[in-house]
């Protein structure tokens, strides 16, 4: 059959035309075999550009279309739809990426034009072998898994549950709430964090559409969009959730206390059977077996003895439970870690007692925290007379994290305000590199602090030490800083130093990204599908991200992302079925030799071997279209739809059109 190919070269304004001689490529394309029409146009993706394709298909009877423009990840769908409107199967279309892969990567006009021709020629040669394909319908399981019970996960879960969809919310810690539950006030409104968060936590705990799995972790994920098979390990709490009333008598009676390094950031203590904080959801306590005397030495059982429920709720024999759940979509909201400030020894954390981290200070100023909201030094008695707050600890620093953590300026200002409020006599210094307060009401909050009398020093702190040079420095922490606004080195003697550390990716973000088969960036944050236009989707269909696992952000941004991810999932659920690209493998049953090499190639176990007929077969519903089996088949009888050998070999010939003509080769195929 003779093909009539239409080739359209896009200028993309000047994005392509500045480096690639678009007219030349279009003229040249017109001379290629099978090409019926070749045009260049300012913006192929515009309505007029698309209409050009549609009209040509109808008027000239084109059978195949090539557009040389941007990445197929930008506009493949646009042009496929235009082909459909013109009356062609969407797979009769091919795209040559002459923008991202060509014009934007060089200033060499001659080389860029040659490369554009090669990419266009490859697309022309390939498209001739394209076959019509029909999209595959995939049913979407209406249940959703949300991983992480911080404010991002809570927002996403509530949005979906309110819309009538079932949600499994998995949280690693014994309670949901995340970092926000540890905070005292939120900037810039100074809302009490717990007061605005706990109602949402209660909603999650009581919602009939939410299955809350706390103290649980996802162990394995199989399947794909619409049907993920998820294995969750629900760790043993040693407390029977069915009978426990959450009265807390066991906690009261437990005779052992340990330092709480998680919720109280090491400043306070908790019992060995504990609930992370009073408003925890769910209310059930958990036994910390590493420190429990019964688990370590076989004695005590105080919690069980005093438990008033019948039957007794303390169950020392409880085992981890493995749950299998099936969900259609997954939202990851796994949050962040704080940079370990002891990595910067010159700031003295861990060596100088009165150097605190921001999280320690949050717990300290919190009315329900270890000091009942009193701002005191490490002796837990003396209020400081002067405090330095150091911004950008580990952020905007070539040695640690190059990025800005976005929230530290604002919470450092909040700390300054809280110190003024509780200790009106105290001197407060904020040492910052640049003051970054973009956000609604944020700059106004900064202005308020300027009026409250905070000393702002623009400069990076070199060192915090306890070595006094003059009498006033005796017994103080001395902060050495270059004040760049007055061009002077300053030594500020103070009682307390607060470090505002970088927000960084969770230390296990790499493993989590592998578990869910999506990507991490250099810093360990999860990668969104598009940084501007698709910030909550990932490269993997059906997996979404929300909150600080995607990058540092504050509470309002996190809540927005949680809701946005939920909206994306809800749209899939309400559609019920989505059409997937029919890029799937199939085995020619007549020619299969039954060698079973392909069987071991498939990561999805989508290839079954029929013992009776001695042939292998691909289960289309399980196949994800990677093509690994296609490449492995020694007989070459597995076809990878839309990536067939014919298409790829033709593409190779096309892409080498200029060097190929120099060779005097006998054709092999």
């Amino acid at each position: 059959m003779s093909e009539k190919v239409g080739v359209y070269i896009c200028h993309c304004g000047t994005n392509i035309a500045k480096t690639v001689d678009v007219e030349e490529v279009a003229l040249w394309a017109g001379e290629q075999d099978h090409v019926d029409v070749a045009r260049e146009y300012k913006f192929m993706c515009s309505s007029l550009g698309q209409e050009l394709i549609e009209e040509d298909i109808k008027e000239k009877g084109l059978t195949k279309i090539v557009v040389a423009s941007c990445s197929p990840h930008m506009h493949e769908k646009t042009f496929r739809t235009a082909c459909v409107r013109g009356g062609l199967n969407p797979f009769m279309f091919e795209m040559a990426n002459i923008r991202e892969h060509d014009s934007w990567t060089t200033d060499d006009r001659e080389a860029a034009t040659l490369k554009a021709k090669a990419l266009t020629k490859a697309a022309i040669e390939r498209v001739i072998h394209n076959q019509p394909l029909e999209p595959l319908p995939v049913e979407i399981n209406p249940n959703t898994l949300v991983v992480g019970g911080g404010i991002a996960g809570i927002s996403a879960a509530l949005e979906l549950a309110e819309a009538g969809n079932h949600v499994y919310l998995v949280e690693r810690e014994p309670s949901i709430g995340g970092h926000m539950a540890q905070l005292d006030k939120t900037f810039p409104t100074l809302d009490c964090s717990a007061c605005i968060l706990t109602p949402k936590m209660v909603d999650v705990g009581q919602h009939p559409n939410i299955t809350l799995l706390t103290y649980s972790e996802v162990e394995a994920v199989g399947g794909y969009l619409g049907n993920f098979d998820v294995t969750v390990r629900k760790k043993a709490r040693y407390v029977d959730e069915e009978h426990c009333t959450g009265c807390g008598i066991c906690i009261e009676k437990c005779p052992y206390k340990v330092v709480d390094n998680v919720f109280e950031a090491g400043l306070g203590a908790r019992k060995v059977i504990y609930r992370p904080f009073p408003q925890a959801v769910p209310k059930y306590p958990v036994i910390d077996t590493e420190n429990c005397v019964y688990f370590q030495r076989g004695k005590c059982k105080a919690c069980q003895i005093f438990c008033p429920t019948d039957p007794n709720s303390i169950d020392f024999e409880q085992q981890d439970e493995i749950l299998q759940i099936v969900v259609g979509n997954i939202i990851l909201a796994t949050g962040f870690d704080l940079f370990d400030v002891s990595q910067i020894p010159q700031y003295g954390y861990g060596r100088l007692a009165n150097v605190f981290t921001s999280l320690e200070f949050e717990r300290m100023v919190n009315a329900s925290g270890p000091t009942d909201g009193k701002i005191v030094l490490r002796d837990l008695e003396t209020p400081p007379e002067s405090v330095v707050i150091i911004h950008c600890v580990g952020s905007r620093d070539e040695n640690y994290h190059k990025y800005c953590s976005k929230v530290c300026c604002m919470y450092s200002l909040k700390f300054a305000h809280l110190i003024h409020e509780r200790l009106p006599e105290a001197e407060v210094y904020n040492c910052y590199i640049d003051m970054r307060t973009p956000g609604k009401g944020y700059e106004e909050f900064y202005n308020r602090l300027l009026e409250e009398g905070t000393h702002f020093i623009r400069g990076k702190v070199a060192e915090v030490s306890d070595v006094a040079r003059i009498e006033e420095e005796e017994g103080k922490l001395i902060v050495q800083v270059a004040d760049t606004l007055i061009s002077k080195q300053r030594r500020i003697p103070v009682d307390m130093v607060i470090l505002s550390p970088a927000m960084e990716a969770r230390n296990d973000s790499q493993e989590v990204s592998q578990l869910f088969r999506m990507g991490c960036d250099f810093d360990g944050f999860f990668v969104e599908r598009h940084p501007k236009l698709d910030p909550v989707a990932t490269m993997t269909e059906g997996i979404y991200i929300a909150g600080a696992c995607q990058g540092p952000k504050d509470v309002p941004d996190t809540v927005s992302q949680g809701a946005a991810a939920a909206a994306r999932v809800a749209s899939f659920i309400s559609r019920g079925t989505v059409m997937m690209e029919p890029i799937r493998a199939s085995i020619n049953q007549e020619l299969c030799s039954g060698c079973r090499i392909c069987n071991t190639m498939c990561p999805y176990n989508a290839i079954v071997f029929h013992e009776d007929s001695n042939v292998s077969e691909v289960i289309t519903a399980l196949c994800q279209g990677c093509g690994t089996c296609v490449a492995a088949c020694p007989s070459g009888i597995i076809t990878g739809a839309h990536f067939t050998n014919d298409q790829l070999l033709a593409q190779i010939e096309g892409i080498l059109w200029d060097v190929r003509s120099n060779l005097d080769l006998v054709p092999v195929e």
């Binding site: 990840h73 892969h101 991490c520 990561p603 990677c626 790829l648 080498l656 190929r660």
Partner: protein, 164 residues
């Protein structure tokens, strides 16, 4: 003055990581050698060794295969299959007298535009230093057309051994 030799490299880029790394390199306007001509495959595991041989035979001076980092494959472990195949293919290419630098396997995640660009630059320079491949003379020994089938079959035999 002679114009310097511009090698032609065919790149097989996986749809999820490396193709997007190349997209990102472009979006970020990272300039790199225009010598690599990319072909998109869904997974580096789709790269049949015969594609590499085909490209070399058709006049490419080098072939780059680029996939997701091990452990990050969109299809779980397609890239590991690629790696196994690649090691075997390289042994065969060495026997044909094809220099090591001409066929390379690299890993570039979707956020690593710079890594992909640097790999292209490095490979371009390496192959520029080697000069043109001249498949005709190097592999066929003068262009009489002998040995085409013989080139294809060892690859397939080799695969059978590997995946047995």
């Amino acid at each position: 003055m002679n114009k310097q030799f511009e090698p032609v490299i065919v790149g097989f880029l996986c749809n999820w990581c490396s193709y997007r790394a190349a997209d990102l390199a472009g979006t970020a306007r990272i300039h790199y050698a225009p010598n690599m001509r990319p072909i998109r495959v869904m997974c580096s595991g789709r790269v049949d060794p015969q594609f590499v041989l085909k490209a070399l035979r058709e006049g490419a001076d080098g072939v780059m295969i680029a996939g997701c980092h091990p452990g990050e494959c969109h299809y779980v472990e397609g890239n590991i299959k690629t790696l196994r195949r690649f090691i075997l293919l390289k042994k065969m290419l060495a026997q044909l007298g094809i220099e090591d630098e001409r066929v390379q396997l690299i890993w570039a995640s979707a956020s690593e535009g710079i890594i992909l660009a640097e790999a292209v630059n490095r490979m371009t320079e390496q192959i520029r230093a080697l000069g043109p491949l001249n498949w005709q003379e190097k592999v066929l020994g003068g262009g009489n057309g002998h040995g085409h089938p013989a080139v294809i079959e060892p690859a397939q035999e080799a695969e059978e051994v590997l995946y047995d």
